[in-house]
Every structure is written in C-alpha cells, then in structure tokens.
C-alpha cells in the first residue's frame, strides 16, 4: 500500500438521531479523505458530533446517509457480521472510558480481538504479551483493570487496539479521563505508532493534544469548519 493511498474516504456523512419525535442532526454532510500513515486530529466542542463520526468511521455505527470507504471498500452494503470483521482486522478503537473488561487481566483483555480473529491459545498469549510490552506494561500483564492506574488502563486499551495489527487506529478523547502526565504518556505512544507508519485519527477538544497530529479537522454542529495541516507546529519541537 503506497503512503498516498486513501485509507478512509468519508462522503456526505449524515447522522440523524430521532428521540421521541425530535430529530438531532449529529452529522450534516461530513466529507474527507485520510491517507495511509496520516495522523489526524478531529477537534470540536462537546456535542459537535466527533464521537458519532468516529463510530461511523470505525464501523460501529451506520450513517443515516452518505458512505464510508475503508481501504477502498464500501461499507454501506456490508452486513453486521462483515462490519464486525472489519472492526476486528482493520480498525483499533481507543475509547475515552477505556472500556476494558473488569474481571479479566490486562493480558486477557488484549487477547480479546485475537479470540474473534481465530487465533489459538498460545499464539494469542504470545502476541498480547508482546503488545503489552510495547506499550510499557510488560510487568503488569496479570493485573486487572482495577489494579492499574488510568494511564495504564488506557495503555492496555491501546495494546488491545494494536494487537491485531490494524491499519487504522481511532482514538476518541483517549486522554479525556487522564491526568496530564498520563495523558502525555498516552500521546507519546500514539506518536510512536504514527512514526511506525500507522494511520491515526484522534478526537480531542484540547488544542495542545490536537497539535500532536499533522492535520486538524475542526467540526462544529456536525459540519467541518476547517481542515488544516499543522506540520509547522510539530517541527517547533513539541515532540
């Protein structure tokens, strides 16, 4: 795959929620392309539709109209199970609230995508362990989420997103529930992933977080208001 090829193509995405007869227009025609290897931030105030957009790109949800192509594949016509397969193999999702299974060790949590990818017991444990080591949690693989700090839990979640070697990492306010030190750790991991050539879309409403990316898309009330390159910010030595 050449680095200039489009990994995500979003076309006229509209999402309307209907609540007791009231229509909420969460997205009003959002369109953009994201190429392989890009690190993009999506910014906007609370309620502007960032999470909705991420869920649609991440194949967790379907748009009311419009289409998303992942890796050149149109997702509109796919069945729920085919979308599940895309989530499993091509996309790694990092949530603001970590979304780890509380009764399972870090290792078991990271193994989860591998279970559904059909890997055997030994291969799963080996890959999950490797990935946890890569995010600096090699010593904590048998800890449960409740025995880990917020930053550590988010790193487990990142390991889980990475373990199946997806082409696209989606992070929805990954630092939103973290103190600034843990947040910085998480951001440096994401930057490291970008340096390894992964494509990352990061949602945040804080500029200093957004500026880790090369490109910032701003949305407001479900519409893109700006889409700019911030190459200069990164070269100012923020990294």
């Amino acid at each position: 795959m050449s680095p200039t090829e489009e990994l995500v193509k979003a076309r006229d995405l509209v999402k309307i929620y209907r609540l007791e007869g009231v229509e909420v227009h969460a997205l009003r025609g959002v369109a953009f392309d994201i190429r392989c290897g890009e690190f993009v931030s999506i910014m906007g105030p609370s309620g502007s539709g960032k999470s909705t957009l991420m869920h649609i790109i991440g194949c967790l949800d379907r748009p009311t109209s419009g289409s998303v192509l992942i890796d050149g594949q149109e997702t509109k016509e796919l069945t729920d199970n085919e979308l599940a397969a895309i989530r499993n193999k091509k996309i790694g999702f990092v949530f603001q609230t970590f979304n780890l299974l509380p009764r399972m060790s870090a290792l078991k949590n990271v193994e989860l995508p591998l279970i559904y990818a059909g890997f055997g017991l030994g291969e799963r444990a080996r890959r999950a362990k490797e990935t946890l080591e890569a995010v600096g949690l090699g010593e904590r693989i048998n800890h449960r989420p409740s025995q880990l700090s917020g930053g550590q839990q988010q790193r487990v979640a990142i390991a889980r997103a990475l373990v199946n070697d997806p082409s696209l990492i989606l992070a929805d306010e990954p630092t939103g529930n973290l103190d600034s030190k843990s947040g910085a750790e998480v951001m440096s991991i994401l930057e490291g992933l970008h340096d390894q050539g992964r494509t990352i879309i990061l949602v945040t409403h804080e500029l200093y977080v957004a500026e880790h990316a090369q490109r910032i898309i701003r949305i407001l009330d479900g519409e893109i208001v700006s889409d700019e390159w911030v190459e200069n910010c990164r070269s100012l030595g923020r990294r």
């Binding site: 869920h55 199970n81 299974l101 559904y116």
Partner: protein, 401 residues
C-alpha cells in the same frame, strides 16, 4: 472463534457467578430428579402389579363383584367396582358344581381387623377363604396346617398366620396352638404360611391372617364375598371356564353385579390406571422442569442486561453475532445439562431410598427423556436471551451504564 473457545468463555461466565449458577441449576435439578423419582415409582408399581397378577397362575381367572368396563380403544376404565356386591358362597358352590371346565372355585372375603396377642395388638388383613386356598394360589403352609372343610362348615375359629404376622406377634417362637383374638373374638392358630414376598397395591401377602370364610362372614357381618378365584382344569380350558362362569353366574345374578376377568384383562385395567397415574406424576414433575427452564431464561436475561457493556466491548473488537449468541446458549445449556446430570443422580438415589417402602424401578426412558428434556429446555430458554445479546447495537451497549 472455535467451539472450544466458546465453551471456555461460557464456563468463565458461569464461574463468575457461582452462587447464581448453582441456584439456577437447582431448579433443573429438582425438576429432573422429580421426574426420575416419580416415574420410577410409577414403573415399579406397574411391574409389581404384573408380577402379582401373573403370580395367580396362568389358569386362574377372577370373578369380581360389580361391573368393570373396559372401553376399547379409549384406554380408560370405569365401572362400579365393589359398589354393588352380591357374590355369595352359593355362587362358589354353583361354579364348582356346574362348571365342567372349572376345577376349583375359591371364595375370598377380606377385610381389616384388629389382632391381639398378649399385650401386642395391630391391624391385619383377615382373609376368609376355603381349604383349597394353598393349592389354588400355590401358596403352601410352612408350619402346622391349613383349615379343613370341616372347620369351615363348623364355623371353627381357627386361623393361619402369614409370615410377617407370625414374626411380629411371636418372634422366633412357634405360634401353632396359641390363642389370639381378631376383633375381640378368640382364634386358635393352627398354621403359618410360607413367605411369599411383598405385593402390589399395598397388599402384602405375608401380612395376612387366613380364617374359614364362614367365620369371616360372621366376623365382618356380611355374606358378600370380595372375589372368587376360578381355576380352570388346564390352561387350555381357561377361556371355556370363563364362559361357563359367566353363564352360571348370569342365571343367578344381574349382569351388572359381577365381572369375570381374565388375567390379561385385569392386568390391562390396572396397568392402564397406573400408567395414567405415572404419566400424570411425570407431567407434574415436568412442569417443575419447565419452571426450572424459565429460571434459566430469567437468569440469562439478567445476565445479558448486566453484561451489556461487556457485549458492546466484545462486538467493538470484532465479535460476530454468532460469537456472542453461542456464548450465551452454551452458558444456558451448561446450566441445564449439569443440572440435569445432578438431577438424574439425585433422582436415582431417591428412587433407591424409596425402594425401602415403595416399589420403584428406574427406567432408562425416563432418564434419557429427563436428560434431553433438560438440555432442550436449556437450549430453548437460552436462545432468546442469546439472540437478544447478539443483536445489541454495539454503540448503545457501550453506552450502557
């Protein structure tokens, strides 16, 4: 995801809530063990009745008072057993005298009476009959002798004790020659029967006291016989003997006042009754199994709700509908299969315990049926919660608090 992994996940889910899993299983355990126990008692009673009636001897038929009707095909029995009772000793004499194919006719008049010896006293079955009883019933005397025709004619108060009665009142000592009282009348013990073993329908043949039928008529203040055994000259003559018995009695009685029954007929009637009863008991027990199944469904639905977030997370990382539903179906099935297995073991133990005071016989079909019914109930009641779980919207599931 392979099936082994599904089992691992499901067992993990059950282990996480051990108390709840155990209580849910209890419903199935009770249901299955009730089915096994009740059906085994029903089958045991049925087998006992067969043995009992077959034990009459193949050339013996019975005349019962009243009309017992078999509705062909309907599998039902009805009638007025014992309501109108006009069988008398005259009829026994007539059968003996006029039946060319009838070798012997034996009157039976039985009822309960209180028996007393020294300071011991309890209720026994008193059977008034004729001297031919041991020969016709193939039930010989062990000690002493049976009463004679003279003693019947002379209304002599003599009696022959069944094994159990003899043991209960006299222990190891010989009762022959002792005086006992039945309903406050004095009797001389002249013999003790051999041991025959327990019978069906609550009749223990060893727990009886035999007296001359004439004496029994006095004792109970009735002329009416409980039944008449008719022995044919040979097995080939049984049908002829039955026809003769009917003809002889019809001349003296209304046709609604007696019934001549072949062994097979009697067996058929009783087995139908017991079979119906067994089915009814099994049915009632099955309802409790069904309730156990609903318990499984209930707990699975609770579990789905509780684990909504977990389901959302699993779906977010790529679980397909099948992956989620199989996990819940296996959980439900595991509950019911383990419950079913434990239930079978408990039911079998219960039936062994019951054997000491009731006839019981574990039948393979009840075990197989209860097991597959339990497993089926688990699958059936697991499918809906599993369907519900697997079709949760991932985003809504992740939002669930």
């Amino acid at each position: 995801m392979d099936i082994l992994e599904s089992f691992r996940l499901a067992l993990g889910g059950l282990a996480a809530n051990k108390m709840r899993s155990a209580l849910t299983m209890l419903g199935v355990i009770i249901g299955v063990s009730a089915v096994i126990l009740l059906v085994s008692i029903g089958s045991g009673v049925k087998a006992d009745i067969s043995r009992e009636i077959m034990g009459l001897g193949s050339n013996v038929t019975m005349v019962l008072p009243g009309k017992i009707e078999m509705h062909p095909g309907a599998g039902q029995t009805g009638g007025s057993l014992g309501l109108v009772n006009k069988l008398a000793l005259d009829h026994v004499e007539a059968l003996k005298r006029e039946g060319a194919h009838i070798k012997e006719a034996l009157p039976i008049l039985s009822s309960a009476a209180s028996m007393r010896y020294t300071n011991l006293s309890r209720t026994v079955d008193v059977v008034g009959t004729a001297p031919e009883y041991p020969a016709v019933r193939n039930f010989p005397v062990a000690e002493g002798r049976f009463f004679s025709a003279g003693e019947v004619g002379g209304l002599r108060r003599v009696c022959v004790l069944g094994q159990t009665v003899a043991e209960d009142f006299f222990g190891d000592s010989n009762p022959v020659g002792e005086r006992i009282s039945l309903s406050d009348q004095k009797f001389t013990v002249i013999g003790v029967m051999t041991e025959k073993g327990g019978g069906a329908m609550g009749i223990n043949l060893d727990d009886q006291v035999f007296v001359p039928v004439t004496v029994a008529q006095n004792l109970f203040g009735t002329e009416n016989l409980s039944l008449i055994f008719v022995e044919a000259a040979s097995q080939a003559d049984v049908d002829l003997a039955m026809v003769e018995a009917k003809r002889i009695l019809a001349r003296r009685l209304d046709e609604n006042d007696f019934t001549v029954l072949a062994q097979e007929e009697l067996l058929g009637i009783l087995q139908t009754v017991v079979g119906t009863l067994t089915l009814m008991l099994g049915g009632i027990a099955s309802i409790s199994l069904l309730v156990g199944g609903i318990g499984i469904m209930n707990i699975m639905l609770v579990s789905v709700t509780e684990r909504t977030r977990e389901i959302g997370i699993r779906k977010a990382v790529g679980a397909k509908t099948y992956d989620i539903s199989i996990q819940f179906v296996i959980e439900a099935t595991t509950l019911s299969v383990i419950g079913g297995t434990v239930g079978i073991i408990l039911g079998a133990l219960g039936s062994l315990v019951a054997r000491s005071f009731l006839p019981s016989q574990i039948t393979a079909w009840s075990v197989v049926l209860a097991f597959f019914f339990a497993a089926g109930v688990g699958i059936f009641f697991g499918v809906y919660p599993a369907y519900k779980a697997s079709h949760l919207d991932p985003i809504e599931a992740l939002r669930y608090e």
